[in-house]
């Protein structure tokens, strides 16, 4: 399970991707913040999701986007998907 990010690693990855699209306060983003709190709109979120997919080599189905309302939700989803992938290849 070495490739499943820890809570902190997943949070840091999301902070990094938010910083890449120049979101103010990206480095200090917290798990309980919503996208609206960060002024991240649906277009920005498409970019963040694609970046996370590329980073972890996973696919986030469009249907899952509704379930990720906060930074923490996205971190948990990334952990879930990487865990599934690890399971499949183990």
């Amino acid at each position: 399970m070495a490739n499943v990010p820890t809570d902190q690693e997943a949070l840091d990855a999301i902070r990094e991707e938010l910083a890449n699209i120049k979101v103010p306060g990206a480095e200090q983003a917290t798990a309980d913040q919503t996208w609206a709190d960060l002024d991240v709109d649906s277009l920005d979120l498409v970019e963040v999701v694609k970046a996370l997919e590329d980073r972890y080599d996973v696919q986030i189905a469009d249907g899952r986007l509704k379930s990720i309302a906060t930074v923490g939700d996205a971190a948990a989803l990334v952990q879930e998907l990487t865990r599934e992938k690890e399971g499949a290849t183990a």
Binding site: K22, S42, L43, E47
Partner: protein, 392 residues
Amino acid sequence: VSVVVTGRGVVSSIGESPDAFFESLLAKRSGIADGIGACVDFDPETTMTPKEARRADRYTQLAVGAADQAVAEAGLPDGVDPERLGVLVGTGVGGLVTLQAECEAWLEGGDRAVSPHFVPMMMPNAAAGTIAIRIGAHGPGFSVSSACATGGHAIGEAMRMIDRGEADAVVAGGTEAALTGLCIAAFRRMGALSREGVSRPFDAGRDGFVMGEGAAVLVLEREEHAKARGAQIFARVVGYGASNDAFHITQPDENGRGAKQAMLATLKDAGAATGDVGYINAHGTSTPFNDKIETLAIKQVFNGSATPPPVSSTKSHIGHLLGAAGAVEALVLVEAVRRGVLPPTINYEQPDPDCDLDYVPEGPREAPGLELALSNSFGFGGQNACLAVAKA
């Protein structure tokens, strides 16, 4: 209804404020290097946050840079009903930098590589929409597009919007950022660009235009509204005329019919006679055709009066800004009537028998009696706009 100018803004290769820009014209400065007039000093992050700038094409960034100056100078949006504040900013080609980059990304990486910001960055009304968001303008808003006449049409249609009673103030102008490899190649393939890379309007050795980029925005306002809120008035926009050559998709009508018609319509709209015109800022692209035919059209308009007034082309300094050109040149008129001085045509060395007007080649010329000036803009598609600006 009397329409006045209460705010001015410009981003150009020779200055990023009305004063810096106009003083560069008077100093005969050129913003052209290596055959293009790029705004090399422009930093979008002086007006936009890094995230806003990243989500905007360069043509919108330039427009926002100019609009912020104009809106601040006019003291807007305070003092105006937001539903009566319009935004009418045009572009000739829209977000071409973005379009080219996204085409490359798509060809290389497929659908998934296309940015979700592509459409709102590329669309030609993005600049007008972005400006409206920034200032909370809820009145009429859109872009106009008529290639190289866009800026003239935008200012003229904004004047009409106020005249029709649809708005008390309109943020109006033109913007262009088309200095991409694809677009430069396209104009070169048409034979429209100067091989020499020099803009020398009306000169016998002219061989095409030089592409430039930039934006200019004016705040037009109903005079009574401006006076009631104590706004400073820089000039009046007193006439506008539009016409179609209906001749050829890129070549001007060889008899100058559309150009002449636009100038005459503008004079009529302004209630002015040819003898009232003290200066013409020419379309003056530096192509063999345009400058010859524009000269012919001006002579036809002034037929019967004394001699036509002095004519200069500020495209000699900054190149051809396509959809921004007419707006930049409207600003030139505002400054010329306000200061009583005519900007020169630079790079003019060798007279052409077909271009036999006074092109102000020697340098800036004092014109203390200047009351009324015209600006011509002629676009591919055969679409023409002419504006008349008068001293405040």
